[in-house]
Symmetry: C4
Subunit: 255 residues, 4 copies
């Protein structure tokens, strides 16, 4: 079997679209943010991407219908040119091995180049080991000019954070994209690393909506965040003091 197999559903005409990626990772911040963006924009599925680098697994919907695990590419055309066209990548899993990670990110970039993508935003979480009321959004970018541009939008660039760099698709799309001549930015919402974190996703998406000039209704994310907060509060009442301590070293990277 070929290592990556895609099923193309549509071949839209897009004008210099921006690629947005949000796959599973720390706090699932990137995945939540990208999926919320996709819902808000009523984006349309362009391709299913299957790979031997994903787990050999089907997932079931509530009716019992099986779907092979995959990544999915959606698109959203601007109706009036007030914002850029978008390609949005979401999915069940990231590649299971380093080689798989590279293969899949490279595949996505080849597809992006076909659509003349010149800029990429990758979304992720930055595990800080404590629950924050007001998570910052940290950044990394492929050039100093981009760093300056992002600082003006409120993205924090903090020396030594994240110290170990950025692991996974959110990092590779920057690293490989840079080699292919694309501008790319990683937006990382602070998150405890203990829970799925809609609050971190909202922080990331507030920056991204400004960058993309799209309006987003955050009601759904906010109500999810309240549910998580309620759970976290209960856990605090049960006096598990380690919640405010540093997480294990290996949670300190980005998904």
């Amino acid at each position: 079997m070929e290592k990556i197999k895609s099923v193309i559903h549509e071949e839209p005409t897009l004008t210099d679209p921006i690629l947005v990626e949000g796959l599973p990772g720390v706090g699932n911040v990137g995945k939540l943010a990208a999926e919320h963006l996709l819902d808000q924009l009523k984006a349309v599925k362009l391709a299913d991407i299957y790979s031997v680098h994903f787990p050999p697994q089907v997932v079931l919907d509530d009716d019992g219908v099986a779907k092979l695990v995959n990544n999915e590419v959606y698109y959203s055309k601007s109706e009036d040119g007030s914002r850029p066209d978008l390609l949005i990548v979401v999915g069940d899993f990231q590649g299971l091995t380093p080689e798989g990670q590279y293969d899949i990110s490279d595949y996505l970039l080849q597809m992006a180049m076909k659509y003349n993508v010149k800029r990429i935003y990758t979304l992720g979480g930055y595990g800080v080991g404590k629950i924050l009321d007001d998570p910052r959004v940290l950044g990394a970018a492929t050039s100093l000019e981009l760093v300056e541009e992002m600082k003006e939008k409120g993205v924090i660039f903090s020396k030594g954070e994240p110290g170990s760099g950025i692991v996974g698709a959110s990092g590779l799309l920057l690293g490989l994209g840079k080699i292919y001549g694309m501008d790319a930015v990683c937006l990382m919402g602070e998150t405890s690393g203990y829970f799925v974190d809609p609050k971190g996703a909202e922080a990331v998406l507030r920056i991204l909506s400004s960058l993309l000039n799209v309006e987003i209704d955050f009601t759904d994310l906010e109500s999810k965040a309240e549910q998580i907060d309620a759970i976290a509060s209960k856990l605090k009442e049960m006096e598990t003091p380690q919640l405010d301590e540093a997480p294990p070293e290996d949670l300190r990277y980005i998904g």
Copy 2:
């Protein structure tokens, strides 16, 4: 060496055969069921499938004659057209890696397409962590129509079961088969997950025999089940109370 190497023993002419798969997994439910079906139908070996994705190992028969571990494809022609022709896949092992799992399932599907297979039944176990007198048969399928068809035959579709989806060949043949346009159903017999489970295999096979319109003598499986029951009873007498508790999370998937 090529990743998969097959030795073809026969090239029968079959009419739209149905593919049945039963490889090792939880409780070896699928393997027991497929092997019993194969014995009952006196199915004939069509191909041996060897692969670098299997363990580098030979197994010995009682005389000391060695055989490289493999998967095997058998066929059974309907004598009078009262039931469909069948291809049956059994074997010693599943692929050792995710990539191996994908490669082998894809190879089986390529072979299936050559024989014009349009429907697949994969057989497996669903580990529930306790010994059941009357195991249910849970299902998953590639379309809502198939789900409805299976419900009429007594297959249970239960939201959130199995929660983690279906891992291995029984899942991949559905997921990849769906992409290739085949109808596929996974039948999962409930099993404790602690023993090889002929009772779970019998439950699966009772549904399958109805689906395939074949008559099956269950005497052998039933006597094997009694032996296992006897062992289980003794263990219960020895008061190992954890037998009725939930199994570790990672036993809750399908082989």
Copy 3:
């Protein structure tokens, strides 16, 4: 880099040579036996086989000269036709992964076929978990006729031994060799599994010398065996009673 890279030193003309393999494994029985045979026959190096499937490592000789780890193929021509010509495979390591094991064994068989090899003897150890004064030599073969032939030479075929089959090159050369139409026998010397075991190697080699009609001086192996016996006796005196107990399950296979 190609997965396997060989450097051919000679291309001798051999008459239907028999292939003998002895690579590292339980008790290093096969390796010791093949290396002793090679020394006794003053066999000549035919090829060095390097592979990405071996560890990324050089070993040093006593002078500090480095050699990339490898497998080596030697040959020995019969001077007077009283015994068959031989190809002998020895080496530092076996392939590190299942796929590596398959690739290397297949590569050796392709080379064997070029020299018209029709019969293979693979040498290994069978871990029994206790120190034996008089180790048996167990066998496995590719056909019932070969099993009968070997029994006449004193090889033991014991139902269920080894229960888990034969793992590694000693198994694969049988399994793959059988597919390629070669006769192959695995000779396994019983060994504790705790020490490098020259006594097990001698037992294997006594059978093999009879099969090949070669005379072998066992002095070296016997003096090595005495050294190991001395060490083992001292350990027994120190009362480590577990020495006579069964080894962990995973030592019960063949290297």
Copy 4:
């Protein structure tokens, strides 16, 4: 994606350059030494080498600009012919798997052959498990003649050190280089294995500067060594007596 992807920045004309390699390993001795050499010679970057065999990761500079992890090849031309031209390999990581190690070392050697490299020096550390005031430099080489030549320069060749051979790029460039007909030497600076070790790097570089006839200012390395010494002394005061004991077996190899 191809397994190794390089970006060539310059294609200099070099006269029989010598290849020097220093990648991460025990005490980072080789990496520190090669990077110091590179700084001292103001070497110029020739190529970036990216690979699926490296971690799927970007690292960030102090400004937040991301770079895909890689190996880098620099060159330095002799201005007056008083010393050889050089190619210097440094990097963030070594290949993550054995196959990756082989692929990358082979790739470097193919590049070296294009530039007519006939001699290689690989730099590494030899973990001895205690802090030494005056670390020795141990050697390994591809021929006895080279061993003799190195002994005259003060390199120690000590039978059985390192006992397990040399693992990683520093070993493979010798082993594969030898097959390709290149002369190669590994210089290993003794190091505790507990710290990044500029003192070990200085010892290696003092030998190498004599071999290459280059003058090197060691001030930077010496001040780094003093910092590490200060830390080590403090730890000693805190009475952690195990600092002088042998390290775990698996620290005893070369990076």
